[in-house]
Amino acid sequence: MTSSPIQRAGIVGIPPLSVMELITTPDYEIFDLDEPQGRVDLETASPFLPRVYCGILRTVIANSLAIQPDIIYIDTGAGKCDCAVHTATVLEDMLPATRIIRTRNNDSVDFGTPLCKTQMSLMEKMSAVTASVQKTAPYPELPTCAPTAGFWGVPPRDFSILNFFPDTTHIYGWARCMENKTPDNMDLELHYNPDIPTVFFAQSFCAKTALARHLASKHPRGLYLDCDVTAGNSAKAKIQAFLELSGIDA
């Protein structure tokens, strides 16, 4: 009796819960292609996507080339972005041996957002949020802390910008939608706390830059920030100064 080999499954964005339930089994090894996977050279994506393009999707292409998954589930619905639609087309031509499955995540059952509201270093918290995509069981309860600062947006390509925030930072925006497993929940994405200084972040060249900047202008103490692949000194200094001048110690 022979067992079938483990399938290498890549995910882009947040596939529907039904898909995640299907692949979170011993038959699959899951790779979150949105996240840097080891020492993958981002430049390998350049023949397939413009250099001036979302750093997350360039990462998807570079990871896919390096890992060569057997199957890729890429969400191309409103819960991801238009750029993912085109990236799916590129993937299909780039990796003919890989099955590219386009999904549209319309899940609307709230899983809750305990991580986004708990006291924990922001880097650790954001890592846990992104890891939660691969979990299908209900979340354990976590104590909610009183927020002193806010981070609105998507998980950044460069997590080092999260180091400047205090442990009592609450996460808002699409990252909160991620944890809630409702990536297409616009009401949740638009939510922010006007009483705490908040950094509104988006990846450079992402359509969400418009929303981030718009919400930052509405927020009484909001700072808009965009970064490409890695955060430069000026981006880091902006966060540091904004929090410091808002009276917040990280």
Binding site: P197, A216, R221, L223, Y224, G232, N233, S234, A235, A237, K238, Q240, A241, F242, E244, L245, S246
Partner: protein, 223 residues
């Protein structure tokens, strides 16, 4: 105490125990690299001190101290970068720092002044300007204009005005700008803004360092 703003082209130093309260201005290339100061800011500052203050923080604190206003936009135009802070009702509202795209403006203006031996105090603000996004990219406009018959002074003036407008747009087109940095001494640049400008001079970040230490403003320091 020795306070310093280590800029790209110039370093500004203030000794609070000195008999003069006028900060010293030293070309960065002439600075003793083994120097140590009590507190520093500026993009070269970390190597010279153990107490480093973020440039935007120093700018904001200096602005609060010098403008004595609760709501203002303060724009710093340096050799390498431009940055701004916006306060509203005494609270930080917005800030920006353009160090990559849009950079090297001050440095380029100084190079042009020396290369073409211009006197910016005697040049009129032109009616039109070049569309300038950064010092390096904007240079080609000058060369093109000169080739097609414009005088060097006229071409450089349009370049300088383009830089001022770019900085104004970067600061989100405020009604009034408080200006900081070495370009405060350039009347062509200051007068090229499409809004009223109040020049605070090139020592605003030093003022911010004094403020960080809860020391009086250097204009109030007594020898």
């Amino acid at each position: 105490m020795l306070l310093a703003d280590f800029g790209t082209s110039y370093c500004k130093l203030l000794d609070t125990q000195s008999t003069t309260t006028v900060p010293r201005l030293i070309a960065t290339r002439s600075i003793d690299r083994s120097m140590k100061v009590d507190i520093a800011t500026g993009h070269n500052g970390k190597r010279y001190t153990t107490h480093y203050v973020n440039e935007l923080t120093a700018l904001a604190r200096g602005g609060l101290s010098l403008t004595r206003e609760q709501s203002f936009t303060l724009l710093d135009c340096g050799s390498r970068d431009i940055k701004y802070v916006v306060y509203g009702d005494g609270k930080i509202k917005d800030m920006g720092w353009n160090a990559e795209c849009g950079a090297s403006m001050g440095f380029t203006i100084e190079l042009l002044e020396k290369y073409y031996t211009l006197d910016f105090s005697k040049m009129d603000v032109p009616k039109s300007s070049f569309s300038v996004t950064c010092g390096v990219l904007g240079m080609s406009h000058i060369f093109d204009a000169v080739v097609t018959g414009a005088s060097e002074a006229e071409a450089v003036a349009k370049f300088v005005k383009g830089i001022a407008i770019n900085a104004y747009n970067f600061a989100k087109q405020p009604e009034k700008i408080y200006l900081s940095g070495g370009l405060c001494d350039n009347p062509l640049f200051v007068n090229s803004f499409p809004c009223p400008v109040v020049s605070l001079g090139r020592f605003v970040l030093l003022e911010g360092l004094l403020n960080s230490l809860h020391l009086p403003s250097f204009s109030d320091l007594q020898p």
